[in-house]
Symmetry: C2
Subunit: 291 residues, 2 copies
């Protein structure tokens, strides 16, 4: 299945889930505002692509893909709240709480997280004869939870208040906050396709390396964006208070680390041979990313 | 199994889950603060009692019971936030955000909801040969989510801002906000025990009627508590701005409605004959409740 076809499937199904008439209309609107706010659908596309790479049924994995996008969106809504990062804009649009108020933003986040699990459990029940499907749901839960994304956010919040600032802390925060969900996406896709142990192990290794690559390029982009916006000279980090790869290692070394992570990610894909095209292209796009 | 044995099992297992060394220590502390804040464990006790009533294995249902208590606790933490009900105290102790700040209170809620699903999915994987167990997890998800508790909270928040104030709105809010999780508790216990369709139907009917009874007595208690605290004369509703059964129907009719709901709840239990002792006693305790 082509990448475009997968993207179209994701959009249509997300729309359908959020149009469920049994959800109170205002709640559905607040949830949909953020889900439909122009996200790149990175995690659901990775989930479906992993499933496809392992000859799995992409349509069957679609509920998992939509669920992981809902979980990602809930984390952004809560992260943007005044008591967390206090962001007024995301992707050029006012954040959820700026439009609907903090109370509804909290509820919309809670709603998206709950709905994601409802959707996955419904799919697991429809595939009850296949315990690998349940492992896919479990992988998403582990990536999202107190051993994954929420753990990363909590460490980030602690670190903001008592900056420690070493490389180990940084890696720990990002492995959980960003990496866990990227890894969960590919593993869930692999499980849904009925992948064997070797395939799942390879997807885990890829997810870990890609998560690191994603975060380092994000940090580089932040700095380059700041330079561009503020006309600053290279060498001065505009977000000096935030623990990033650029701040810790400098721009040059951060770029080298991104290349090394890309190398590890490619190596993990070797086992999938010529079926890994989507992910090999994704690595290149991430290295070259401008947004 | 006795009610005391069940309560002891719940406390021990909740302690164990929250002592998981892989959760970042500060996050675990913030989550545990609210879970261990003196809750009556109504929902987990109902879940285990329903399982026991149907000759099920109570230990096997224990992860579901702890998960439902975590979900209930997360909803209280988020409900107490300044942007929601803005409560400083709960059960005589400072609310979560008063102790740890709003950011961690949001995260602790997110963490408890996620962890609840992780725990249930782990248990479902361990019982993967039994699809009824997955139905139990699904029942909890439905009760907690955008067709259940979160829907009720959203309607409550809409109603607070644009008071409509009719009996239908009130019933709709409470069926979702409070009723859905009480019903989910008994149904999940029933599924975990492998209950047949008749048993599950009876548990659903009981859950609906008991949810109503619980809410009406809660409203009556609120008013009587206000009278007692403020030394007001009977007949004047101290919380006149809130949509309650007492405000809509008066204290006398609210009491009659509580008796009628109790009657329905008892009728639903008839099919379980003398095994329904826990729930028959619970109905009487709820009618006589003072807290």
């Amino acid at each position: 299945m082509s990448a475009e076809q997968m993207s179209a499937l994701i959009e249509r199904r997300l729309q359908a889930y959020l149009s469920d008439a049994r959800i109170p209309p205002h709640l559905a609107e607040v949830m949909a505002y953020s889900v439909m706010a122009g996200g790149k659908r990175l995690r659901p596309r990775m989930l479906l692509a992993a499933c496809d790479m392992l000859h799995g049924d992409v349509e069957r994995a679609l509920p998992l893909a939509c669920a992981i996008e809902m979980i990602h969106t809930y984390s952004l809504i809560h992260d943007d709240l005044p008591c967390m990062d206090n962001d007024d804009y995301r992707r050029g649009k006012p954040t959820n709480h700026k439009v609907y108020g903090e109370g509804f933003a909290v509820l919309a986040g809670d709603g998206l997280l709950s709905y994601a699990f409802e959707i996955m459990l419904e799919a697991a029940l429809a595939n009850a004869n296949d315990s690998a499907y349940l492992k896919a749901v479990d992988a998403v839960a582990k990536g999202a939870g107190v051993h994954g994304m929420v753990a990363g956010q909590a460490c980030d919040l602690v670190n903001e208040r008592q900056p420690a600032g070493d490389a180990q802390t940084l890696r720990h925060i990002h492995e959980n906050k960003t990496g866990a969900m990227l890894k969960a996406a590919v593993c869930a896709g692999g499980y849904a396709a009925g992948g064997d142990e070797t395939a799942i192990r390879a997807l885990e290794d890829f997810g870990t390396a890609y998560g690191l690559l994603f975060q380092i390029t994000d940090d580089i982009l932040d700095v380059e964006g700041d330079f561009a916006r503020m006309g600053k000279t290279l060498g001065k980090d505009a977000s000096a208070d935030k623990l990033t790869y650029v701040r810790l290692f400098g721009l040059e070394t951060a770029r080298e680390k991104a290349q090394a992570a890309a190398c590890d990610a490619r190596a993990a894909l070797a086992v999938f041979e010529d079926r890994a095209a989507f992910f090999l292209a994704l690595i290149d796009q991430t290295l070259a990313r401008k947004s």
